[in-house]
């Protein structure tokens, strides 16, 4: 029954005489108000308010219950969500309660100066007197209600079904509501609250659990998973498994039976255009042409820039040379006056500027730059001091010698490096040739080998990357986990180091200390030092990565079917970004969730509430009743009534029967009955009760309230069986 609200204003308020009671079922999810003796409540709405601001005028308004959500577009609802007057199942926020009552009475059609009707309102079992007195006060003071009566919804529901002949005089009412679940035993038609049990789990928790699970499973569709929608999903698809373990095994095995049980909610989805057809040849050609054109333009631009630069440089050189010419011919005295017009201060500077410009001109024209080393004077001349013994040199020369030594060694090193590079190049060339030959021999096999190699390497690199990042970002949460978490974060060489350190630390004083006798002993410190493992940690992946890059480029060259999976790590988590969204991405699958969520009614510990589940509650309650010795067991178990919105899950009664059978002695007759209407029966029972002749004796007036005080109100209990 998804969210039915009846909020049309009633017009026949004045037709009711002033002694005709108004009946209110103040439930956790719905507020129902109507007239005593009628079969259905007149007005029903969700027991919540919202107080958004008007977007234009900025005035705060109050909206009670559910309205057309389209109308809320004029209001800024981002700051305040829907609020309820309930904390658990107790009314505590009487300002909100007053708004709700205002709305309820208004829609019932009240138009006189006060509510001149007795009011019967429901409350939870054993309501704290603070809440009860506040409610009475509110009704007396603000609405001018002549008299008030409080009753428990589950009790009214049981009574109503008893009158319909569905359940017996003695029995058990199991009422699973929005916030809580109650089990209330009945003896001779009266509730026995001494043996009553409450667990703080209800429909709210089931919906919330489902909502959280789905939004964790589908973080992309979180905006679609509104409270209302999830509540609908719950009511439509959730059921209670007869046996959780065996049901879950069905799903784990992936049987056909399980497939049939999976429900799928397809979100609105329009196939994206790019995905529809793989781009045709024409398209590809067009795109390539476009790219080529753009490349051409860029090349032209670069060319033009280069040309300009060469021009500029040539002009500069010409100017400078002119200047130099003039300086050469000019008199010594005129030089400053000539230079003053230019940006140079001396002849030397002009010369160096020319040299610089010529070099950059060469560079931009693409000619090889003359390296300084090639123009080196012969080595013997340059390093003339090296072979001379120190004694024969003056301090000045000694300095020079040291300098020369340095220069020589560096230049030699450079030469060596060049040589090595050249050799490596040759080696690579050779390998390439070798591979090429191999390919020529058997292209198929070669390709396969290459692919396998690529796969291995990319996996290796990936793994290493993951290890590295994992160590980095999970630091935060397992300081508490002690040794285990620490061990996992270290890589192998680091672990080895830790092992060495610890053995070294604990090795002291055990037998003879022979450390240091052999030279190898001292190698230990090398292994222990931190730099050591850093080095080889960085070395290997580099090699691997280089190899991977090489294989990849090779594959790209020769294998037309090869697709390189994105440069960045190619991990599966990133895959969805690269592939077009499909219909399946917009599906919300309900599998195990269908019975996992309502399971919390039987195992509240699943959501961290350490209390009894439905079956155990019933057992405990029956036990409590039997301890008092007021009634025989069969009479109770023969009439177990299920009422309240959360009892609508299919399979609940079967499961409950199995559960109670396990707890109670064998042979106990167990009869579990569903209420005629688990949602409305509480109100209907209350309305029938308020219409009875004896009802006025069960109410109390404002006078009574103030005379007798809170202590009396605490003990106030409605008598169902008059």
């Amino acid at each position: 029954m998804p969210f039915i609200s009846k909020i049309q204003r009633q017009s026949d308020y004045s037709a009711f005489p002033s002694r005709h009671p108004i009946v209110i079922d103040n439930g956790g999810s719905y507020f129902r108000i109507g007239w005593a003796g009628e079969s259905d409540p007149r007005v029903i709405f969700r027991n919540i308010i919202q107080r958004p601001r008007h977007k234009i005028t900025g005035e705060t308004i109050t909206v009670v219950g559910d309205h057309n959500p389209a109308l809320l577009k004029y209001f800024d609802c981002t700051r305040t969500g829907p609020r309820s007057a309930f904390d658990n199942n107790v009314v505590y926020q009487f300002e909100i309660m007053e708004y709700i009552l205002d709305f309820g009475f208004d829609r019932l059609g009240a138009d006189q100066s006060q509510i001149d009707h007795p009011v019967l309102i429901t409350e939870c079992a054993c309501n704290p007197v603070q809440s009860r007195s506040k409610m009475a006060e509110l009704l007396f003071e603000s609405y001018g209600v002549p008299s008030v009566a409080f009753g428990v919804d589950a009790a009214f529901s049981y009574k109503y079904n008893q009158q319909l002949g569905i359940c017996n005089n003695d029995g058990l009412a199991i009422c699973s509501g929005f916030n809580t679940t109650h089990v209330i035993p009945f003896v001779n038609g009266e509730p026995v609250y001494e043996a009553c049990k409450r667990t703080n789990v209800g429909g709210y928790h089931v919906t919330d659990y489902l909502k959280q699970l789905l939004s964790l499973k589908y973080p992309h569709h979180i905006s679609k998973l509104t409270w209302e929608k999830v509540e609908d999903l719950k009511m439509e698809h959730c059921y209670i498994a007869t046996d959780y373990e065996s049901e879950v095994q069905l799903f784990q095995k992936g049987d056909e039976e399980a497939d049939e049980k999976i429900r799928c909610w397809q979100l609105p989805w329009t196939p994206s255009l790019s995905e529809e057809t793989t781009p045709s040849e024409e398209e590809i050609a067009r795109k390539a042409a476009l790219k080529e054109k753009q490349g051409q333009r860029l090349r032209e631009m670069a060319e033009a820039k280069r040309f300009n630069r060469i021009n500029d440089l040539e002009n500069e050189i010409r100017d400078s040379e002119n200047l130099l010419q003039r300086l050469r011919h000019a008199e010594e005295d005129d030089i400053p006056s000539i230079l003053a017009k230019t940006r140079y201060t001396s002849k030397l500077e002009v010369e160096s500027a020319i040299a610089k410009a010529t070099q950059s001109l060469r560079k931009s024209k693409g000619e090889p730059v003359e390296s300084v080393e090639k123009t080196d004077p012969s080595a013997t001349e340059k390093y003339n001091l090296i072979n001379v013994p120190d004694e024969a040199l003056t301090p000045e020369q000694l300095k020079q010698k040291r300098k020369q030594l340095f220069i020589k060694s560096t230049s030699e090193a450079r030469q060596q490096k060049k040589q090595k590079q050249l050799e490596e190049e040759l080696e690579r060339e050779r390998q390439k040739k070798l591979e090429e030959e191999k390919r020529q021999e058997n292209p198929e096999q070669y390709l396969d080998e290459l692919r396998a190699k690529h796969r291995d390497l990319s996996e290796k690199v990936d793994q290493r990357k993951r290890l590295k990042t994992n160590g980095g970002h999970t630091n935060g949460n397992h300081n508490s986990s002690g040794g285990v978490g620490r061990g996992e974060r270290l890589n192998s060489s680091q672990r080895e180091r830790m092992r060495l350190l610890t053995t070294a630390a604990f090795d002291r004083g055990k037998g003879e200390d022979t450390f240091g006798m052999k030279d190898e002993d001292w190698q230990l410190y090398k292994l222990m030092s931190r730099d050591n493992d850093d080095d080889d940690d960085d070395d290997h992946p580099d090699l691997d990565e280089a190899e991977l890059a090489r294989v990849t480029s090779r594959l790209r060259e020769i294998d037309p079917t090869f697709i390189f999976k994105a440069e960045s790590g190619s991990s599966t988590a990133e895959a969805p970004h690269f592939r077009p969204l499909t219909k399946e991405d917009f599906q919300i699958i309900l599998g195990v969730e269908r019975f996992r969520c309502p399971e919390i009614l039987f195992h509240p510990s699943l959501i961290g509430i350490e209390q009894l589940g439905l079956d155990e509650m019933a057992g405990k309650s029956i036990q409590g009743l039997l301890d008092k010795g007021r009634v025989s067991e069969e009479r109770i178990t023969n009439s177990i009534l299920l009422t309240g919105g959360s009892c609508l899950f299919p399979g609940l009664s079967e499961r409950l029967e199995a559960g109670i059978r396990m707890i109670r002695p064998s042979g106990t007759p167990i009869r579990i009955i569903k209420a005629s209407n688990p949602i409305f029966d509480a109100w209907r029972g209350a309305a029938a009760y308020a219409a009875a002749m004896q009802f006025p004796q069960q109410t109390f007036s404002k006078m009574d309230y103030y005379e007798k005080g809170e202590d009396w109100l605490k003990g106030y209990q409605l008598r169902l069986d008059k």
């Binding site: 054993c126 603000s142 001494e194 959280q212 699970l213 964790l216 970002h473 509650m617």
Partner: protein, 123 residues
Amino acid sequence: MEPEVVEAELVLPTHMRFKKVQMYEKYPKGQARVRWKHLKQIIQAENYQNYPPDEPNYVNIESPPSMHPSKRICDITGFKAPYLDPRTKLRYANAEVFRMIRSLPNEYVQRYLALRNAAVVLR
């Protein structure tokens, strides 16, 4: 206010004919709103420990913890969970789920833990 909003009577009027004390009289603007006691405070103020234990009250009708061993289910899939990941403290059913929880960001791990009220709350 827009005409369609007025027509739908979305907004609760501030003045009600049938009330003896109006909302705006009780909670005038600018005055500090009443701090309503939460259930915890109500229970505390009620002093239930002084009540006779054989009489039913809000606190003693609450059901005790279960006698059955608590069910351990996989935090992700809902399957039977024989394993516990020592790093994240999540329960899991098999290697496949384990691989998945190891790739989960910490925020999600905490949210999964919060579902069964086992998340680390820093205050």
